[in-house]
Assembly symmetry: C2
Homo-oligomer: 341 residues x 2
Amino acid sequence: MNTKVFEKSVSNSKYDQNQVSNDESNVTKTYLQSSQLVKAHTTVEKVSFDLSAYLSKQQVLVEAALEQSIYVVYPEKIYESMRYSLLAGGKRLRPILCIASCELCGGTVEMAMPTACALEMFHTASLIHDDLPAMDNDDYRRGKLTNHKVYGEDTAILAGDGLLAYAFKFVVEKTNKVPAERLLQVVDQLSYAIGAGGLVGGQIVDLASEKLHNIDIETLNFIHRHKTGVLLQASVVSGAILAGANDEALQPLSRYAHNIGLAFQIIDDVLDITATTEELGKTAGKDLLAQKATYPSLLGIEESKLQAQELIDEAKAELASFGEKAIPLMAIADYIIARTH
Amino acid sequence: MNTKVFEKSVSNSKYDQNQVSNDESNVTKTYLQSSQLVKAHTTVEKVSFDLSAYLSKQQVLVEAALEQSIYVVYPEKIYESMRYSLLAGGKRLRPILCIASCELCGGTVEMAMPTACALEMFHTASLIHDDLPAMDNDDYRRGKLTNHKVYGEDTAILAGDGLLAYAFKFVVEKTNKVPAERLLQVVDQLSYAIGAGGLVGGQIVDLASEKLHNIDIETLNFIHRHKTGVLLQASVVSGAILAGANDEALQPLSRYAHNIGLAFQIIDDVLDITATTEELGKTAGKDLLAQKATYPSLLGIEESKLQAQELIDEAKAELASFGEKAIPLMAIADYIIARTH
């Protein structure tokens, strides 16, 4: 059995992977400009970037947009339940990635924001459905009672459906200054990511695997690639499409997103063991209790962390050609591995 | 309490509502060409139209397209369960309306077919979720076991989500020869129809109303307008948009669809009382057993039928200005009221 989490992608090995250490990712850090390093081989310019401030600022923007995205009208219960889960906090990683990618490719926050909100609606919809008794049967999510515990199973199913539907409407109606062709490409990316080729496909294999206790690393990769990776990829790629990026930019961004997606999930599995319920905002130790196959259970905690780090390093190497503009996405990659919840 | 199902819309009363009797709607009929009647006041041309043959032909086209729409790949279970419900038969009313409306406005079957299939995917997704134990708890649909009875609740929830997502992808990727702006309008129409402003909103009020036994006609109208009417309206309007119809054509088509949508639901309620389980392909008499408020329970069977007929007549009157080309849509309106299942 191949115990390697991923195939090594063709990456630019000249990019200095050791420029930052993980435990510093929430404070102001000094980034080497990889493009300078790679292209000129001479000058090494230093750029200061406060990731913590950046994430906070972006989170405030996204929260404000989400707060305005759904109004409560008759029949109130459905809108309230949609808002309850959508506005329950969370890292807002997908919207932030979308915006960062759009800006990296020359677009604006305004161009990206409706899609950014839609990504969070999709993510929330999948969480609501995954938490249902017929699925993962979770009582807590983001430190609050899950949707069906508050509104009932019937409403929770409909709230998920409502968010899925509304996200598409939101993208189409609220996006300005983006040509129709690009918006259609975004709709295409999004619908792929949340369907059987993405989230739904990952969840169905996850559910089937729960009954087995000897799944292999390929199956585990499939699950997480689909449950997490594809929507993260759609977040980054959609942002770039909105800005009018060409294939030359889309390819490395897509590989970046693929790598951070898998690293994100490895760290999630590690945190399920090492973090507390309070830190996570959801029940900790659940995987162990369910004897669920995870990266740590297959590889051990230390090897899992190492492989996650390698994925993050490769992700950052993909951004080398973008230069200084890619620093937010690089910093987000570091954040993914250094987070404690 | 207003016992009138609908407000009388401003319709062209010159259109001869008595030209066909209901019980003939499945055989070849003679249609007066209303446009001739209205515009010329002189000639009355007779056009022969075989509705039964028309519906069969369109159904075959739609079934073939649906059959090709989803392939079974890994993870097989999710695709099999999506196909199970999507290909379980049914009248294919929404696709047929979409195609008829597109052709009426100068478009082709090819332009409409991906959207036509998407409409059936949305409809199927909502049926799968509505049938769940947490919702209407139905064991049979279209004469077959419901999705969750065959595949389990978890897969049924995901099959619904998968169909919702895939429908958008299908429209965007499979539609040819339609400008991007029009396709975006279609995505907008569809996402509205299946969300809290449409199907989801209707279902939540329906679920809440089941616990009450004294709901009024306005609430009943809200439920059915949203559970049935909005998607039928999206079917007709989307077809017209794909063909490039302007507002002058969209308005009467939208009112036509609104009226046949409500008539459809009234007849559904009547059939729940008068038809057998075998005829319906789903459990008959369920509304009575659940003491559910329906049009017959509020208005009586005969008055319900009368009001449905009035809605159909008004719907057909809306099509007067389209002339002979509107005959398929007129015949479908007649079919809705004359159907036995």
